[in-house]
């Protein structure tokens, strides 16, 4: 690398007599740029085509999730969580609901948990499909992208069958789910997973061993284990560095300890490892879904705790107690006991942590989301400096920044 001081003076000093700044060109990449799939701005300093400096500006999609949540009832936050990581909305739903359940100190029935595992893994697959597809598209493999989008379509139709919407799912509730599996869901699921496997196999053949692709991603954005931990990486990016940290195993929540799956890890933490780890995670998720679909028990999909869910409609219509409960629950909202909890789950990008503070009333005091890609974007300068400007594309693609989650 060039002498740091000289570089600094090159960047700053266009007022000084000797015009060093001439060789460093600053160029705005984002917000309105095809490679920025969320809205984020990188002010990149280029020496020729080499990136020598980068400053990141985020917040273009800030919607005040936390502020709005504090001004809503507990249950009204669920639709908001759909819009956090909008390519895997169900995982956010599940994370938030499990956090509130932890606040209550209860657990959802087993059938609900298994359903959550199935739907959550479907969401993880859609997340990875989108991320890998978009990243590959930006380095020119357009066909790969559209085949993945086709596969994602299979899954989103399932999500629609289940929840009534493709993206804005609003599916989980405290102590269970709003809906049970529809008729014939599991056979349809097996069908679609078989199709997904075919697509995966084809796409694997198309790209993974292509030297052009390998050249684009290999040794790009490498990250050491220490740096990754220090930057708070979680999820596929941390695993690509070789650390098998997966919240599903590390803090085994839900019914993941009954399911058998492997955690893929890479070695160098470059974009190639991230790609391979995500590909493998899709396969593992398919595996998990198949196991969960086998093991799913009969039973209720909603807890029978009072004051957690709306009473059955027949109780509401038929007896006064049910009607009063219903009215109390709607008017006052859910009232989790006072306290604070942190509930981590494994999202598509890494650890989604909900930190909730309740004072025992119907309104949350604090709803905090730990966004996994916040750390990744914070590390973007560290990952890109020293690479070429074209390498921003695979690096940023593998980071899988989701604006809704990053800026909240």
């Amino acid at each position: 690398m060039t002498d740091m001081n000289l570089l600094q003076s090159r960047i700053e000093g266009d007022s000084s007599g000797e015009d060093f700044s001439a060789s460093v060109m600053s160029i705005e990449i984002g917000p309105a740029h095809p490679a920025m799939h969320g809205i984020v701005r990188f002010t990149t300093h280029l020496d020729g085509e080499l990136i020598v400096g980068m400053d990141t500006e985020i917040g273009y999609l800030h919607r005040g999730f936390e502020k709005e949540s504090e001004n809503s009832k507990w249950i009204q936050v669920i639709p908001y969580t759909d819009r956090l990581n909008y390519v895997s909305p169900l995982l956010n739903n599940i994370g938030y609901s499990m956090a509130v359940e932890k606040l209550y100190g209860i657990e959802a029935p087993r059938r609900a948990e298994f359903t959550r595992v199935i739907m959550g893994e479907i969401s993880r697959i859609t997340d990875h499909l989108t991320c890998l597809g978009a990243a590959a598209m930006e380095i020119g493999a357009f066909t790969f992208f559209l085949w993945f989008i086709k596969a994602r379509e299979y899954l989103w139709e399932l999500v629609e069958e289940m929840t009534g919407a493709r993206l804005t799912t609003n599916w989980t509730r405290f102590g269970g789910n709003s809906t049970d599996l529809p008729d014939g869901f599991l056979t349809e699921l097996a069908d679609r997973l078989a199709k997904l496997k075919d697509v995966m196999e084809e796409c694997d053949k198309l790209l993974t061993r292509n030297k052009i692709f390998i050249d684009r991603v290999k040794d790009i954005g490498s990250f050491s284990k220490e740096d990754a931990l220090s930057y708070g990486f979680t999820g596929p990016l941390l695993r690509a560095c070789g650390i098998p940290y997966d919240v599903r195993r590390a803090d085994s929540y839900s019914v993941y300890d009954e399911l058998d799956f492997e955690i893929p890890v890479g070695s160098t933490g470059d974009c190639f490892d991230r790609f391979l780890v995500r590909m493998e995670e899709i396969r593992q998720s398919i595996n998990i879904i198949e196991q969960a679909a086998d093991k799913i028990p009969e039973g209720p999909f909603m807890t029978d705790e009072r004051m957690l869910h709306y009473p059955d409609k027949k109780d509401v219509y038929g007896n006064i107690e049910g009607l009063i409960d219903h009215f109390k629950l709607v008017m006052e909202g859910h009232q989790p006991p006072a306290g604070e909890i942190y509930m981590p789950i494994e999202g598509g990008n890494g650890e989604i942590g909900f930190y909730l503070v309740s004072d025992g009333s119907g309104d949350p005091v604090r709803v905090r989301l730990r966004p996994p890609c916040f750390n990744f974007v914070a590390a973007m300068p560290a990952m890109t400096i020293g690479h070429y400007v074209a390498d921003i594309v695979p690096i940023f693609g593998s980071v899988n920044m989701i604006g809704g989650e990053l800026d909240r």
Binding site: D19, A22, S23, V24, M25, I27, E28, I29, G30, P31, A32, H33, M36, R41, D47, G48, E49, L50
Partner: protein, 120 residues
């Protein structure tokens, strides 16, 4: 047929190309709308209204590549006559051009080692 006559069609062709390109370039000036605005006229830079390259100088890093290109392009020209007449020139020609190519390859190896082929 004189040599010039053989090239006349090429001239016609180029003129045709120019006419075509001129039509393409100018048709928009007459038929398109003219709704000017500051935002529209600024060069694209991801949504920021900046002045583009004005006042900037850009460090062209590939001048070494350009130099290597020049050398090769000029040297390669010497090979064309040989390649066409290869049968007539026989082993002597082969030897001569092998020496020539050998020097060329040495030069390439030198450039390679010196890093002139690295794009920075």
């Amino acid at each position: 047929m004189t040599i010039a006559a053989g090239y006349l069609p090429i001239l016609i062709m180029i003129v045709l190309g120019v006419i075509l390109a001129a039509t393409f370039s100018c048709i928009g000036l007459f038929l398109g709308p003219k709704l000017r605005g500051e935002a529209k006229e600024t060069p694209f830079e991801s949504g920021f209204l900046k002045d583009g390259m004005e006042g900037h100088r850009y460090d062209v890093k590939f001048y070494m590549t350009a130099l290597v290109f020049l050398i090769f392009d000029v040297e390669v020209v010497f090979l064309y006559p040989w390649s066409v007449q290869i049968r007539e020139l026989g082993w002597f020609g082969f030897l001569a051009s092998s020496v020539f190519l050998g020097i060329l390859i040495l030069g390439l190896a030198y450039d390679w080692k010196k890093g002139a082929l690295e794009w920075e």
